[in-house]
Symmetry: C2
Subunit: 361 residues, 2 copies
């Protein structure tokens, strides 16, 4: 790693601290360097808060003239909740700006860099770009596909079942796998499940650490059947619960849930009464959710795959064989010629289980 | 690795050269060291040939007095096809013998080491023992379980299917996976399949390299239905084909197959007419096969797992999702509480596929 990459890595590390709190904004960190020394730094802490560049400039005080700035995302050139960062950078006399990646937001999309160059500032684009894209993959994704990034997690036996024939699935008891899932939840704006999982497990869907960022907990509940005693709508985090429903007439239940802090998002259903998934994801994006960790069940997993809505697949494979059981992707049936294609990443052991990650092609 | 481990590793490397050719004997290599220099070496080349220790002593000539011998398996103390090695070692004036592991053969089982010690020779047991056991796992296994070691290989989709609903399974087209299977075949005394696979694929089951050792090709064919035109009974390696059948009355077909070089082993069937697997494996052990690479299909895989006859599982997992298809372990149905338990080894990528190895508990 050269010197420039090291400073950019520090900007990325700062940005990481805001991850989860900034959506629908991206996570951004910035450091200002003069004479090979960091004289100011900052990160975007939550939606509506000052931008990283502004905090870094303020922190550096009077020494910014002729200095270099490292920032993982192109500085903005438009008025949002705060004034444009490029104006501040130019006013501070910054001489060079190292940028991780272009801001894919159509409101920015290169115009920030153009503006800096026009002001005589040297701009270097693309340092640790891959890391920058990975950090803000949900943010990037929404502009590419007009829906949130979706990571689909399934816990499977070695022979591909998510539960035995009786429906029993409480078997990933090893600490490492649970810890991993808890950490993954915190890396997404929301955790999502279908009602089957809610009825069966009464989960909390909370991240491993509960003292910081709590992702939204999204439930697909077409008939708005959720019993009010279940944890997701009655625990202390109920304000982080979002229910998508096709049932628009249950005024009293909607009112009751809303009063307790739960968000109800009505969405269209198809002719069978099922929620239209792409519409649901669109409305989650409008709500500010740019990345989702989906934890099943099998029917939801099958529908997401069928409709090509999955970006990354995470399979936790237990060291068990059942022979028969509940299939991983309900309702899906492909021939080998038309099989859904993945690209495996490097596999790893997670305690006694195996983690297989695949990117959908 | 210390000096003694290095010499033992050389003995193991020599032993490896004979692997596949020595069954039902173990693979053995020996080096003789004097003044920190190898003065003689040898390995057991095939069943009936001289033992490694004898070849090493002969190679060393007159310099063996006071020398040290490194051998991966305890020297024999009984008359088999050749006279006992311990007598030769004592006569050669060897002063120290480093032994990888005790010979589990009840005819030896410590008596070789005892004899050497009684003759005043210093014996060090257990250097690279794990490697020594791994090398001869089939040989070791037969004495522990009275049946050959069984590695079960299956090629699966990400969701656990060995074929799509139409039965199509010709999908592992990536070179690395095929190469791996070809190499694994050569590490076993035999490759085994059920008739479903033979009918569907007309496979040759040959190893990656065809210029050396060709493992036996074992077919479970209860009704002796195999068409004489299929490769396994008509290609140039037909003398390496063994058919296990419960059909004892098809005299003409048996005679015809035997004339072409195929070995027919009649075994008992159960009340449904299916071959009794444990009896079949026993008769393969009697035939001299101590390790088997089983390549399915699903029914055979399910039966082997059901009867707890699998030692190692190798899953080649393709980056594909089907939703529905032919299950990996036909006829098996366990609840989660009684699921068949594995212990995963470190996973690895094999081209675009993933290799998961598990040891059955």
């Amino acid at each position: 790693m050269d010197r420039q990459q090291k400073f950019m890595q520090q900007a990325l590390d700062l940005a990481e601290k805001g991850r989860g709190f900034t959506s629908p904004n991206p996570a951004v960190g910035a450091v200002i360097v003069k004479d090979n020394r960091i004289i100011g730094s900052g990160f975007h802490q939550h939606f509506g808060a000052p931008h990283a560049e502004v905090l870094a400039i303020e922190g550096a005080g009077t020494g910014t003239n002729g200095a270099a700035m490292y920032v993982n995302l192109e500085p903005c050139n438009h008025y949002g909740k705060t004034p444009p960062c490029v104006d501040k950078i130019i006013a501070a006399g910054i001489a060079k700006v190292y940028v991780g990646m272009i801001d894919p937001n159509p409101l920015v999309n290169g115009s920030g860099i153009r503006r800096l160059k026009e002001a005589g500032i040297e701009v270097n684009l693309g340092i640790l770009e891959k890391e920058a894209r990975q950090l803000n993959r949900g943010f990037v994704h929404q502009f590419l596909k007009q829906r949130p990034w979706i990571t689909l997690k399934l816990a499977l036996t070695a022979d591909g079942f998510i539960a035995d024939v009786s429906g029993k699935s409480q078997w990933i008891t090893n600490t490492e796998a649970r810890q991993y899932v808890g950490e993954q939840r915190a890396l997404h704006d929301a955790v999502m499940v279908g009602m089957g999982t809610v009825f069966k497990d009464d989960p909390t869907l909370l991240p491993a650490r509960r003292d910081g960022y709590i992702p939204f907990r999204v439930i697909l509940d077409e008939l708005l059947n959720i019993p009010p005693r279940l944890k997701l709508v009655s625990d202390e985090y109920q304000r982080r619960t979002v229910i998508l429903t096709a049932q628009k007439d249950k005024d009293r239940k909607i009112e009751q849930l809303r009063r307790s802090g739960v968000t109800i998002l009505p969405v269209d259903s198809d002719s069978f009464g099922w929620i239209k998934l792409s519409a649901a994801l669109h409305s989650l994006l409008d709500f500010g959710i740019t990345s989702i960790y989906c934890e099943g069940g099998g029917q939801l997993a099958g529908s997401l795959i069928q409709e090509k809505l999955v970006d990354e697949l995470q399979l936790l494979i237990a060291p068990k064989i059942l022979g028969e059981g509940i299939k991983a992707f309900g309702g899906l049936m492909k021939s080998l010629d038309e099989a859904v294609q993945l690209e495996w990443q490097e596999p790893q052991k997670l305690g006694v289980d195996i983690l297989l990650k695949g990117v959908l092609k």
